[in-house]
């Protein structure tokens, strides 16, 4: 992968997916959920992967967390190929990378108190030897995730907590093993709008204060913009990363026609903005099935910029084009690459 943004330089990344592909066998045939995706993250980086359902963002997240082995390609952590490591080194990776799930109603054991949920990994990984140490550590973790007064929460069961509080417990559980990387898959989608921002701030705080690398996977571009402000966003479509850029550049001046269409389509919580948005008309409303992906660029059947003989034949790869103020951004679009201009400009919605 080429160098992108200012934060990550090849060779200094903490965790990296190198050209990973993942296929699944289904009764209807083999589908390629993720196709040749590369993603490198530095220490303490907060990044977002956005895309619609079926784009492969969750599969990418699970591969990044080492929970799913790539069909091809490598997962690198601190320079080592994770799927080639064994024993204590693999165990260290497992502790270093934690996943926070989408559904806090399903991810916590309903018959365990908060203390039981949080102390179990402490004992298991020998972080605490005695009950007293564990209790002090659990209280500290609860305070860090904003569940105060912490002693009140120790004896609570999940059903006694709100969705937001449960998600905080899930984050605290991820923190029990002092992770270096947290992959949060739609971690705020199921909590009320009124408290999403505070959860995002909690995750951001982990990146800023404790140098934890946080990857947030979301379908919500507004959430991504807030979370990855000052950082990067990767946009996925049908298994591929189609654009990777700094957040402001991506949101204000998207380079890929798909990102451009998404940003133009998104309803906004502001009547003046949302009712006067300039639209991007797609050639087809429905995304193709993963079982019958189109040849060439997977977006070409819907793309307003598609050129016959080019986009329906050749598969585009992520390549840098100049961004504003010399910033680099990468886009997998033949037309944007040839014109050396972002799709937002080519489609007149800049």
């Amino acid at each position: 992968m080429t160098v992108s943004g200012d934060t990550t330089v090849r060779g200094t990344s903490l965790i990296e997916l190198e050209g990973v592909t993942r296929t699944f066998k289904t009764p209807a045939g083999v589908i390629t959920a993720v196709d040749n995706v590369s993603l490198a993250l530095g220490v303490g980086e907060a990044m977002c992967v956005v895309g619609e359902s079926g784009c492969g963002k969750t599969t990418t997240g699970r591969m990044l967390a080492g929970l799913l082995q790539p069909t091809s390609g490598r997962l690198m952590f601190e320079g080592a190929d994770v799927w080639q490591t064994k024993g204590p080194k693999l165990a260290a990776f497992r502790r270093a990378v934690q996943l926070v799930h989408q559904d806090p109603y399903a991810s916590l054991n309903p018959i365990r108190t908060v203390y039981q949920t949080l102390s179990a990994p402490l004992f298991k990984h020998h972080k605490s030897k005695r009950g007293r140490d564990a209790r002090a550590r659990v209280v500290e973790l609860l305070e860090r995730v904003g569940l105060t007064p912490a002693p009140d929460f120790l004896v609570k069961y999940p059903h006694q907590l709100s969705g937001g509080q449960r998600q905080r417990v899930a984050i605290a559980r991820a923190l029990t093993v002092d992770p270096r990387v947290i992959v949060a898959d739609e971690a705020v989608s199921m909590v009320d709008v009124s408290i999403r921002i505070s959860l995002l701030n909690l995750l951001l705080g982990l990146a800023r204060e404790f140098k934890v690398t946080v990857v947030l996977i979301t379908h919500d571009l507004a959430v991504a913009r807030f979370f990855a402000r000052g950082g990067r966003i990767g946009v996925m479509y049908l298994g591929k990363v189609v654009e990777l850029a700094g957040t402001d550049t991506l949101v204000e001046d998207p380079a890929h026609p798909y990102s451009t269409a998404l940003i133009a389509a998104i309803p906004e919580a502001d009547p003046n903005i949302t009712r006067n948005k300039r639209r991007v008309e797609l050639r087809s409303a429905d995304a193709p099935s993963l079982l019958a992906l189109p040849p060439g660029c997977v977006f070409h059947p819907r793309c307003p910029l598609a050129e016959p003989g080019l986009c329906d034949v050749l598969v585009p790869v992520l390549e840098g084009i100049p961004g504003r103020e010399g910033e680099r951004r990468e886009v997998a679009c033949h037309v944007a690459q040839r014109e050396r201009a972002p799709a937002a400009e080519l489609l007149g919605v800049r």
Binding site: E52, S53, S162, G164, Q165, D192, V193, S194, I195, R196, I197, S198, L199, N201, H219, L221, A222, V223, R225, F226, R229, V251, A261, L262, I263, A265, I266, P267, E268, A269, D270, P271, N272, I273, T274, R275, K277, L282, A285, D286, A287
Partner: protein
């Protein structure tokens, strides 16, 4: 002209700990052709309120007071007094509802055509030919291929297609009012956009009134003429869409508006509302929002503030400090709340 008028409606759920005061003295009117958005967090009572409008509340719910009045071109109904037959005619013919979980709204083992036919027959469209013509016409309106879709089973359709089928089905008997519960939640962005544009087009073409329930302010910004903010079972603010977005007067509406980031324009100062909604069994004395409210004073905890007119006669808020809220937000210009407070 008013098609639906709700007066002092209160609904309780029975629970072991005592009655849950889910909806408390809610009043509003819906004009012909108007789109009203009801917004609030989960537990604010918005769904309880919506299902009560077609009297589909679960058995544990009890309407303790109030009235729902429907006025169509030829009829004037006291909805809470209808008998079973009258109720069946009122549902779908006068007032239809599209539920949130698109897949759960279908019978999974019968085809879409049979679902249309069942609905049509149950509500007085005896002739299957008539049902087919109307269904085909509506499916074309929602940009689906009737040939293909009518033969399909629910699981064979994508989420967006199912939502479009439900919208088409809700219009089968040309109701005057359509109620939509979270019509675009769980749909992809491009599908959301398609559904929003579709609802606008149908509304303009067919002239029905809409009530939609959402926690998503952006859908309200897109579609609503007027908005209600609900908190702890009460309407705490009632305003035209622009007044609600740019000149909110209840601190809870302000809090909701500041809690949602946007993709376009400046990001502003986005912050969550601290705390959580109150226990609806044991409500705090005075204003239910007081424990979370940055504007709270002692008087707020003494009596529940009534919904009073603010700024204009068409704008009401239930806050004794609405003038201070206005002062804090200062300018009347159309600047998002999150930016004014940044």
């Amino acid at each position: 002209m008013t098609v639906l008028s709700i007066q002092d409606l209160s609904i309780e759920y029975l629970s072991r700990r005592g009655p849950v005061h889910a909806v408390r003295k809610v009043s509003f009117e819906l004009a012909k052709g108007e789109t009203l958005a009801i917004i609030g967090e989960s537990g604010s009572g918005k769904t309880t309120l919506a299902v009560s409008l077609i009297r589909l509340s679960p058995r544990s719910a009890r309407i303790t007071e109030g009235s729902i009045r429907f006025r169509g071109d030829t009829k004037d109904l006291d909805v809470l007094q209808l008998d079973d037959d009258e109720l069946r005619r009122y549902r779908w013919n006068d007032c239809a509802m599209v539920f949130q979980a698109a897949l759960n709204s279908f019978n999974p083992v019968i085809s879409i055509w049979d679902q249309f036919l069942d609905t049509g027959r149950a509500h007085g469209m005896g002739d299957s030919r008539r049902v087919r013509d109307r269904a085909s016409e509506l499916l074309e309106l929602v940009r689906l291929d009737p040939e293909r879709v009518l033969r399909a089973y629910p699981h064979e359709l994508s989420g967006g297609m199912r939502q479009r089928v439900l919208i088409a089905m809700s219009l089968l008997l040309s109701p005057d009012v359509v109620i939509l519960d979270e019509p675009t939640t769980a749909l992809d962005i491009l599908t959301q956009r398609a559904i929003i544009d579709l609802l606008k087009e149908l509304r303009d073409k067919l002239g029905f009134s809409m009530i939609f329930i959402s926690h998503d302010l952006s859908i309200a910004a897109e579609l609503a003429d007027r908005m209600l903010t609900m908190y702890a079972g009460r309407v705490v603010e009632r305003a035209k869409v622009d007044d609600m977005f740019y000149r909110p007067r209840h601190p809870y509406s302000v809090g909701l508006l500041r809690a949602v980031p946007r993709v376009s324009g400046t990001l502003g100062k986005v912050v969550s509302i601290p705390g959580s909604p109150p226990d609806l069994i044991r409500l705090p004395p005075g204003c239910a929002y007081a424990p979370r409210c940055p504007f709270v004073i002692d008087a707020c905890r003494e009596a529940e503030p009534p919904l009073i007119p603010v700024d204009t006669p068409e704008h009401d808020a239930a806050c004794i400090r609405w003038q201070d809220v206005a002062e804090t937000l200062r300018s009347d210009d159309e600047i998002p709340v999150a930016e004014k407070l940044a």
